[in-house]
Amino acid sequence: MNKREENMEWELEAPYLASLPRTTPFSVPDDYFKHFQSQVESVIFLNGLAEKEDLGFSVPTGYFEDLTSAIQSRITVDSFANREAAFTTPDNYFEKLNAAILSKTISDKPKTKIRRLWGSDFMKYASAACFIILAATGLYLNQQNNLKLERSAELVSEQMLYDIDENVIIEHLNETQTASNLSNAEMESYILENYTSNDISTNL
């Protein structure tokens, strides 16, 4: 069976597929096939180099014989080195440490507690008003008290005067020689000035 016959079989079964252009709709970078050959040659050259056993390098005598034990020793040493790192720190510890130290030293300022005497302005003004009222009341009462004392003192002295006999007064006056030097007229005027007519009439 040739190609044409082979194709006719399926083209009859799938006419839509057969009608489509049989081209691959992919593209390649510019000049891809132009440089492809040199690329393959480079790869072949490099592979050839890699496959060569002797590339001009040498190793010390007995290197490969001792290599196994050297690797095992290295593994043992590394396992001991890793044991020292048994202690761990939380994640990102050292990244945060610097900032934490600074916040507790340079950045930290003593914070004073502020306690308000009054919780609000109303309390403040109410307290001031109460104080003023109390002070004024105190002053007023004090003043009133003083007046009372003065009046009572006056009353007391007046009463004392009423309680003293006129003969005593006369005698006192005679003793002090003040009255002897006074004339009758002067005495009379003194009595009239200091005693009422009622007093005079009553006591005389």
């Binding site: 082979e6 709709p25 593209s27 040659e41």
Partner: protein
Amino acid sequence: MKQVEDAEILQKFGIEKTRNEAFNLLITKYQQKIYWHVRRLVIDHDDADDLVQETFVKVWKNLANFRSDSQLYTWIYRIATNESITFLNKKKLKNNISLDDVSSELADSLASSSYFDGDKAQRKLQEAILTLPEKQRIIFNMKYFDDMKYDEISEVLGTSVGALKASFHIAVKKIESILINND
């Protein structure tokens, strides 16, 4: 440019002085065919580039042992196909995904590829082809795009002609159905 015959290439390759010249002739003759065959399988240009280079490196290493019991073209094709299948299998194992997911990845690569020149119908066709099982997809590509005979495909894949015919017909019916239903 006149195509050099395979026999001439093989002859020149056998002589050390002309080996490089023969290899250059071989690359010039087959690079595009092999490239497009691989590209249709792996979709991505960079992946195809790596695989095609690897193919020709293997050709260089083994051409001296080529026994001419098959055509040079089918022998190179076989190397390229095996490289592509190995690549796709490695992709599956590497990402721990199933074959369906590999096809899905290739479809994503197709959708995002900057090296796609086709129209809407061609994109649909490529997407439909990606729904086929791996081996069926290879058979379809070789028959539909490369227009290879079943005998040649059999040489490449080591599968009987009968099995190839059956597989190709199933693929054609499936793709036709997808294209018509999604149109």
